[in-house]
Amino acid sequence: MTETSALVILIAAIFTNNILLTNFLGMCSFIACSRQINTSIGLGTAVTFVITCTTAINYLIYHHILAPYNLTHLSFIVFIAVIAAFVQFVEMFVERFSPRLYFALGIFLPLITVNCAILGASLFMVIRNYNFWQSAAFGLGGGLGWMAAIVLMAGLRQKMRYSNVPKPFEGVAIAMILTCVIAMAFMGFAGMVAIQ
């Protein structure tokens, strides 16, 4: 892939290649935690922070430790270990230094380890051969895009409480249909910027 500037990747990862709406990553917590706008903003912030840092860390580990020693087949297990360790570290750090932030974010942190958007961003970073700044921008954009999607969704679901949904569609089914509509709306951004 020829050099795409980090800024282009950042914008593309938010709008045209939204990690949730086009790559379907992070669906589980997207469905489970999108009932309240406040909750979703908290979770979105935590995800954005973790995804940016872990993508950058994983980039360094992959290109400076795994690749030179031909250990790339271990990348899955190393990536997930880095993510789990990082989340644990952030949790302890936040708990020690900012109890208020801990109560706002803390409950979401364990959820993040199993959020596939985080691991997915690291895997995409390898597959697409990003350099360091591109990786970090992709992580940040992915996180912001995910947050945008979940906050939009939470807003819609709060409104939906007053609407009359057909019986079999109640709950997750209608959420999927809503996501379909949001995804279609995001397709309107296509052509603005393009990455692979």
Binding site: C28, F76, I80, N115, L119, I127, T179
Partner: protein, 222 residues
């Protein structure tokens, strides 16, 4: 669930082949508590790889393999794993099986491996595998755990195949590369192959499941 006070069998401590629990486990995993349509686990990959039936089948096979394997190992180790670090042990076991499958795909089916891209690796964070290891394999004997893994894997694979079939049929007019809906009267609906089609298809499948099983009790409360 079968009564536990039956004479013990060697492999799993129940009577006969898993004390008659085998069938119940199989049914629970693949229908009553279907991981995808009822518990909403593992949705990410279910949406991403179902643009073609072929991909869906490979992904289903991958999940069955990983789920059975990791359930077996976790169950064998269940008395040795300290509770506090069980998560990381489970992840390590699961990641090992995923790496095995990924290397297998890369060695023998390079095209398929390319198409599935990162989603094979993402089986590690697939909540189904983790969920079964955590909720079932840690409490149950190896053979029964394997059956549970198999059941959940099948439950997942079947839904994947259904979604994959309809998305490929409506989106490209083809199934497994064979043209079923001819160009003359059917214009392929590209949207079904793209992302929104995936959400739509899964929404419909869940709604159909709900229709036959009655709505999810947890949703009702709210």
């Amino acid at each position: 669930m079968a009564d536990m006070k039956q004479p013990a069998c060697v492999s799993c401590g129940g009577a006969g082949l898993c004390g008659g629990k085998a069938l119940a486990t199989l049914k629970d995993g693949s229908w009553t508590t279907n991981p995808l349509a009822v518990q909403m686990l593992g949705i990410c990959s279910a949406l991403a790889v179902t643009n073609r039936l072929e991909n869906s089948l490979v992904m289903g096979a991958a999940l069955i393999f990983v789920c059975v394997g990791s359930n077996l190992i976790v169950s064998l180790l269940r008395k040795a794993i300290p509770t506090r670090i069980r998560m990381i042990v489970e992840v390590a076991v699961i990641a090992t099986f995923v790496i095995v499958f990924d290397q297998f795909l890369k060695a023998f089916y390079w095209d398929m491996s390319k198409q599935l891209g990162p989603y094979v690796g993402l089986i590690i964070t697939n909540c189904i595998v983790m969920g079964r290891a955590e909720a079932f394999a840690l409490q149950n004997p190896p053979l029964l755990s394997m059956i549970d893994g198999l059941a959940n894997g099948i439950g997942y694979a079947v839904i994947l195949a259904i979604i994959g079939f309809f998305r490929e049929l409506l989106g490209a007019g083809e199934v497994m590369g064979f043209r079923l809906l001819s160009d003359g009267w059917y214009t392929p609906n590209q949207l079904m192959i793209l992302a929104p089609g995936a959400f739509f298809a899964l929404g419909i499948v869940i709604a159909i499941f709900n229709h036959f099983k009655g709505p999810d009790p947890e949703e009702k409360k709210q």
